[in-house]
């Protein structure tokens, strides 16, 4: 058996409107349309090769998106990501934060990424209650990291 090799691109949606959130099909069509504009019919149809382009996971809270495509074609995908200016009519763009070969490696990266962000969040906190919340979260994640990795495995 030969395994289909994929690339997972972990992106972060950045937009002004905090309340607005995008679901998987919004992201998919935004990416697909951009690939079509930049790489034409060739780009779109090669994205449909198994394993085809798909949005594996979206996190509405933090705006994290996980895209999947065939290995080798990820260059087509990655080159068109910076050109996305609007998602579902709302000005927004995708910031690539990681490219990995498996979902697991992306998740590992995501955990460390979120952890590193906690300290900067702490600085942004204004009220005491918020500060307490973040501190607890930091403490908790330090303990949980090992467990989480275990569960992933």
């Amino acid at each position: 058996m030969v395994r289909y090799k994929c690339r997972y691109v972990l992106c972060k949606v950045i937009h002004d409107d905090r309340k607005k959130s995008f679901d998987e099909s919004d992201i998919y069509f935004a990416v697909r349309n951009e690939v079509e504009a930049l790489h034409g019919d060739y780009g779109v149809s090669s994205m449909k090769k198994t394993p085809s382009l798909s949005v594996k996971y979206t996190d509405k809270e933090s705006g994290i998106v996980l895209l999947k495509c065939q290995r080798g074609l990820h260059k087509l995908l990655q080159s068109s990501l910076p050109f996305i200016k609007k998602i579902k009519g709302v000005p927004a763009f995708l910031q690539t934060i990681h490219v990995g070969g498996t979902i697991r490696s992306c998740l590992k990266f995501l955990i460390t990424y979120h952890k590193s962000r906690l300290s900067s969040l702490l600085k942004q906190c204004t009220t005491k209650e918020e500060k307490e919340k973040v501190k607890v979260a930091i403490l908790k994640c330090c303990q949980d990291t090992t467990q989480m990795v275990m569960t992933v495995q």
Binding site: A37, H39, G40, Y42, G43, S79
Partner: protein, 124 residues
């Protein structure tokens, strides 16, 4: 005093001699600007902006026969060639690009012995 330089690998440019043919009962007047526009849109349909933004020079265009000599980067040769092949109609009129000659030397397009017409002198 003798010097020799051999260029084998990557030549920068590629030169193509192409002709635009229309189907039966269809005809249109295409000038040089239109012609370049057609090449660009052919490239854009199949390979998107990424290829159509590459260098495409129309070096010479003959309006009567709709034949042009174009210059492109060598690395886009395959992509442009295939997108020209795919191009099928202009505003509903069936048409086709014919690739007459391809070379990495512009000099080669000055003569085509394959399509050379013979002018015979009949004496008696």
């Amino acid at each position: 005093m003798y010097q020799k330089i051999v260029t084998k690998g990557s030549t920068d440019y590629c030169y193509l001699k192409i002709r635009l043919d229309f189907g039966k009962d269809h005809d249109a007047i295409i000038d040089a600007l239109n012609f370049k526009q057609l090449i660009l849109s052919a490239a854009k349909d199949v390979f998107g902006i990424a290829v159509s933004c590459s260098l495409i020079d129309v070096l010479r265009y003959e309006k009567s026969s709709r034949t042009a000599v174009i210059r492109i980067y060598h690395k886009y040769l395959t992509k442009l060639w295939s997108s020209l092949t795919m191009y099928g109609n202009i505003n509903g009129a069936p048409c086709a690009f014919r690739i007459l000659q391809v070379s990495s030397h512009l000099m080669a397009l000055a003569n085509n012995s394959r399509s050379m017409k013979l002018h015979m002198v009949y004496d008696g």
